[in-house]
């Protein structure tokens, strides 16, 4: 009969910890996945008397030109800062100075991706405009 191999207590604990890290990681990933998927999007109802031009509202930027309403996420595509200022027909990110036109297209870096355009849903009954962000 082969003599059983002896391992030190320290080594034993290290191995146990190593093995335990796998189920812990699985639990962590599963748990976070569940939490993220259960976080619902925020519903924003646009005001009925939207002015022409740019309006800032919570997490969105609204651009109304005549009857066309476009809604963008106010999150800068560079590093996620909230954009809430406009100057000389440009939307400006106050964190790093990226500038976008009113169509959400980047015109001055560092951002190079356009702002995320959100789908505007119109209620057939009330004509109410809604976006989810």
């Amino acid at each position: 009969m082969k003599k059983s191999e002896k391992i030190s207590r320290k080594k034993f604990l290290k191995r146990i910890t190593g093995w335990l890290s796998i189920p812990i990681a699985v639990l962590w990933i599963k748990g976070v996945d569940r939490s993220i998927s259960s976080s619902s999007k925020t519903k924003i109802i646009l005001p009925s008397d939207l002015p022409q031009g740019i309006s800032f509202m919570d997490k969105i930027i609204i651009n109304k030109q005549n009857e066309i309403v476009k809604v963008f996420s106010s999150s800068c595509t560079h590093l996620g800062c909230k954009i809430n200022s406009t100057r000389e027909n440009e939307l400006i990110c106050s964190c790093h100075g990226s500038k976008f036109n009113y169509e959400g297209k980047p015109i001055v870096g560092p951002a190079i991706k356009p702002l995320k355009q959100l789908e505007v849903l119109k209620s057939i009954k009330t004509g109410e405009l809604t976006v989810y962000v």
Partner: protein, 909 residues
């Protein structure tokens, strides 16, 4: 791998008062830990920003503990960095086991994380943006990014998880590492006391401030400003993340390298650190709103920072007795309203219950201690210098300050260019300038002495309403209004040693823009404000003024006489009824001359075609906002728009039958907008004439001007307000109110039109006495286009143009048509020695000797045009202007010439 080196004695480390950097860092950590425990008593995770605000406003002890926590944490981090450097310098990395070294390396990251979470827990605008950036960066890590982000920062704008990590996870980890490293659970009492001293001093003299959420400048914590600066240049910020991870791994694996490579890595880190430190300096001092470059003394962030000595008076020892609730404005506590709660007189849009005090006045809202609250106070908001911190904030009137900056009322482009042309300093009328940037040349000094105060950016220094003597004031120039009560309060203030608490009536900032707002500047130069009301300047002195209703004394001592008011004034229209926001505040473009910036034209309101309009639902946001405030915002309304740039005229409406009308913006009176008379639109012979050319009743004109520099005169530099030794002076020969001269210019739509002109300037300019100038006298015969604002319902007569030498440009005198068909002109004013034209002429009689216009393309009538005008004039010598014959000429003049009778005498040239 190199051999282990000889153990280094603690004596060899850098020390302060006998303690190593590491020991002081441990002591600072301990102070931060203890102060953090106490701070948590006052900190409310549900309303973090509000709870910190209340500590600052009403709880000096809590505020002290917060500052103690802040400074101990900063000192801890700085000393940890110094301690690490001390270790690396002595190459002690080889003296620790590998596992310990990895844990120590990770603990450095943890220190930065605990610092950053502390910054985020302030929950102000800086913090929330920092959290968003950190989230985005973490999510960029492949595979585990989103899990890390969610697990470290939580979801949305909830701070609970960050709080737990700040006070527990990371703090405990750092403490365990410290204990393992130092082999002590507590710091030495002596080191603790030594460390406490600088922390308390910093706490006392540099209390930790809180940025308002309405602060336009967003910056991270000072130690991450280098990263923020790098991000400004980096399209792919994840590169920074990977570079950082690479540098970190180099440190973790440092023990694996040989002596030479370890040294190289350390030198590399040192260089990186020095560069990073420079980037922090740039980020802190040289970056302003929207991360734009700005010099430190104009950087509003620095003004409101922890390190500005102005902010460095603590209120820890004030015995507060806060009896009432501190009001919340736009979600933030505003200490100002604790004392100034019962102020009256505001326009609805500026009601302090809606916008507070600090939106306009800045100051410190997180205190109720007067001297602290009033630090960095903008006493008179609205001046362009500080407009970005007050009226022009992104949450209030964004973009307007930049428009006004570029507007002609601020730049004075036309004035500067024409003035420099006259002084022989440029040949271009269309240069773009900025009045505050002009130099000290003869031309620019002339403006500084005589004209430079009339720009809207001229700072208003003193309280009080806009008067005839006011110049500039930024937004105040148009929007500031004092009620009688507010004026009485102002008088009280002047006698009560500036005790502002006695003030109950605040002036209003509103849209009630009266003619008086324009009057100060516009009663000068073209004098359109006085013209509009019918007043013409005389050369009478105050004591010579007859005491009758036909004379008026202005506050500046000038005496005016009544001629005839503009028909719009007679009917009750004010300046603001025609002029709109895009003209008065600019439209964001730079223009060389005033008429280029103007949008409104007579034909925008007086037309025969179907109206050009915009529906209420299609109004731009600015017009919509103004229409709403003025009570003109009705969903079914249609508004006229200007021919130039389609600007909505929000006080003009169209009835269902297409009849347009106008409502006075202030008076709310209704005015019909009548179409032009048939004579204005009959035929095509007068197509080029502007409405102005016929309907201007009179225009102020001067003859025989002279400008000279007097080296002994004490003058004023109106840009700096300083006295100057030597000043430019002007003399005028005569002021005359008469029909203007006509000429040709290219309008802002690019069309060549007949417009009204006045002498501007026919003058001699003596530069001989100006510093260093050559002995030179310049003569100019320049006519300037004018819109005199003296409109009359009845246009000028046909003869007043076709038979009048002043109208054609010959100057005053007698213009006769002889029976032999010869036109003859006898001038009234003598011929000028410089060009042999009469003193008041623009052009020689039927010859090519001519002066110039003050605009590119502006000119007097060419000889052929003069002949055509005078041919009609010949007919008018016999035929009445309303006769059938003359009416027929309006349709086709050449056809009428074919029908002339034998009695008719046509001009012979």
């Amino acid at each position: 791998m190199s051999k282990k080196k000889e153990k280094i004695s603690p004596k060899m480390y850098s020390k302060i008062f006998g303690s190593t950097f590491g020991h002081i860092a441990f002591a600072s950590f301990f102070i931060a830990l203890l102060s953090g425990i106490f701070l948590s008593i006052f900190y409310d995770i549900k309303e973090p920003f509000d709870s910190i605000s209340m500590m600052l406003i009403a709880n000096p002890s809590a505020s002290f503990i917060r500052s103690l926590h802040y400074w101990s944490a900063q000192l801890f981090m700085i000393l940890i960095i110094l301690h690490v450097w001390d270790h690396l310098r002595k190459s002690t990395e080889m003296q620790v086991k590998r596992g310990v070294w990895i844990r120590l390396s990770i603990s450095i990251l943890t220190v930065f994380f605990v610092m950053l979470t502390g910054f985020i827990l302030k929950a102000d605008a800086d913090s929330i943006q920092a959290k968003r950036i950190l989230e985005t960066l973490l999510q960029d890590i492949p595979l585990i990014g989103s899990y890390l982000s969610f697990s470290l920062l939580g979801k949305g704008e909830d701070f609970q998880l960050i709080y737990v990590h700040h006070i527990a996870t990371t703090t405990i980890f750092v403490w365990i590492i410290i204990v393992e490293h130092v082999k002590q659970i507590w710091p030495n009492v002596r080191t603790l006391l030594y460390s406490l001293l600088p922390i308390i001093l910093l706490t006392l003299f540099y209390p930790s401030i809180l940025h308002s959420n309405h602060e336009p400048i967003i910056k991270g914590p000072w130690y991450f400003l280098g990263v923020q600066e790098l991000f400004h240049y980096m399209t792919y910020p994840e590169i920074i993340l990977w570079i950082f991870i690479f540098l970190f791994i180099m440190i973790v694996l440092l023990q694996k390298f040989d002596d030479n490579n370890r040294l190289r890595i350390k030198i590399f880190w040192l260089v990186i650190s020095i560069i990073y430190f420079v980037l922090i300096i740039i980020g802190y001092f040289f970056r302003g709103e929207n991360w734009e470059f700005v010099v430190p003394w104009k950087n509003n962030y620095f003004i409101n920072s922890n390190l500005n000595p102005i902010n460095n008076s603590a209120n820890y020892f004030t015995d507060f007795n806060v009896q009432n609730e501190i009001p919340k404005i736009m979600g933030e506590r505003e200490g100002c309203l604790y004392c100034h709660s019962d102020m009256e007189g505001f326009s609805p849009s500026h009601d302090p219950e809606a916008v507070g005090c600090a939106s306009c006045h800045q100051g410190n809202t997180f205190t109720i201690e007067k001297s602290l609250a009033h630090s960095n106070l903008i006493k008179i908001p609205g001046n362009l210098e500080t407009a970005n911190l007050s009226c022009g904030q992104s949450g209030c009137h964004p973009g307007i300050k930049e428009r006004v900056d570029k507007s002609i009322m601020n730049t004075m482009n036309g004035v500067i260019s024409v003035n420099r042309y006259i002084f022989g300093e440029t040949n271009n009328f269309d240069e773009l300038h900025y009045i505050t940037n002009i130099g000290k040349s003869a031309a620019d000094t002339h403006l500084r002495n005589l004209c430079a105060s009339c720009h809207i950016g001229n700072e208003k220094f003193e309280y009080g309403p806009i008067t005839e003597l006011s110049r500039g004031g930024g937004c105040n120039a148009c929007h500031l209004n004092y009620t009688i009560d507010a004026e009485k309060d102002l008088q009280k203030l002047s006698t009560s040693h500036a005790d502002t608490s006695i003030i109950k009536f605040h002036p209003s900032l509103d849209l009630n823009i009266s003619n008086n707002h324009c009057f100060g500047c516009h009663s000068r130069s073209g004098r359109i404000s006085t013209n509009y009301e019918g007043w013409h300047e005389t050369q009478l002195k105050e004591e010579e003024m007859p005491s009758d209703s036909l004379h008026r004394l202005l506050e500046d001592g000038r005496v005016f006489t009544f001629v005839e008011a503009d028909i719009h004034h007679q009917r009750g229209l004010e300046c603001i009824d025609c002029h709109n926001s895009y003209e008065l505040m600019g439209d964001g473009e730079s223009y060389a001359h005033q008429e280029e910036q103007s949008k409104i034209m007579c034909e925008d309101c007086h037309f025969t075609h179907s109206p050009n309009y915009v529906n209420n639902s299609d109004l731009d946001s600015e017009s919509k906002k103004i229409a709403k405030i003025r009570g003109f915002d009705f969903p079914e309304r249609k508004y006229l728009i200007t021919k130039k740039d389609s600007i909505p005229l929000i006080n003009t409406f169209i009835e269902e039958d297409n009849t347009p009308y106008l409502i006075g913006k202030n008076s709310k009176k209704k005015f019909n907008l009548n179409p032009p008379n048939f004579i204005c639109i009959e035929g095509k012979v007068h197509d080029r004439l502007t409405c102005n050319s016929c309907h201007t009743a009179w225009a102020p004109q001067c003859v025989g001007c002279h400008t000279e520099f007097d080296p002994n005169e004490i003058g004023i530099d109106h840009l700096t307000g300083e006295e100057t030794k030597g000043s430019w002076k002007e003399w005028v020969g005569e002021f005359i109110a008469e029909l203007p001269t006509l000429g040709v210019m290219v309008n802002s739509l690019g069309e060549e039109v007949i417009e009204t002109f006045v002498p501007g300037m026919i003058m001699t300019l003596d530069k001989s006495k100006f510093n260093g100038s050559e002995d030179i006298t310049i003569f100019h015969r320049l006519f300037a286009p004018t819109v005199a604002h003296t409109t009359s319902t009845k246009g000028r007569s046909c003869k007043s143009c076709h038979n009048d030498p002043l109208a054609i440009g010959y100057g005053r005198g007698e213009l006769k048509f002889s029976k032999s068909g010869k036109w003859e002109f006898q001038n009234k004013y003598v011929l000028d020695e410089h060009d042999q034209l009469p003193e008041d002429a623009w052009i020689g009689f039927l010859n090519d000797i001519q002066g110039k216009g003050t605009r590119t393309g502006a000119r007097p009538f060419a000889v052929e045009e003069q002949k055509r005008i005078l041919t009609v004039g010949a007919c008018l010598t016999c035929h009445d202007e309303s006769s059938r014959v003359m009416m027929e000429t309006l349709t086709d003049f050449n056809k009428s010439l074919d029908k002339v009778s034998k009695k008719c005498v046509l001009p012979v040239w």
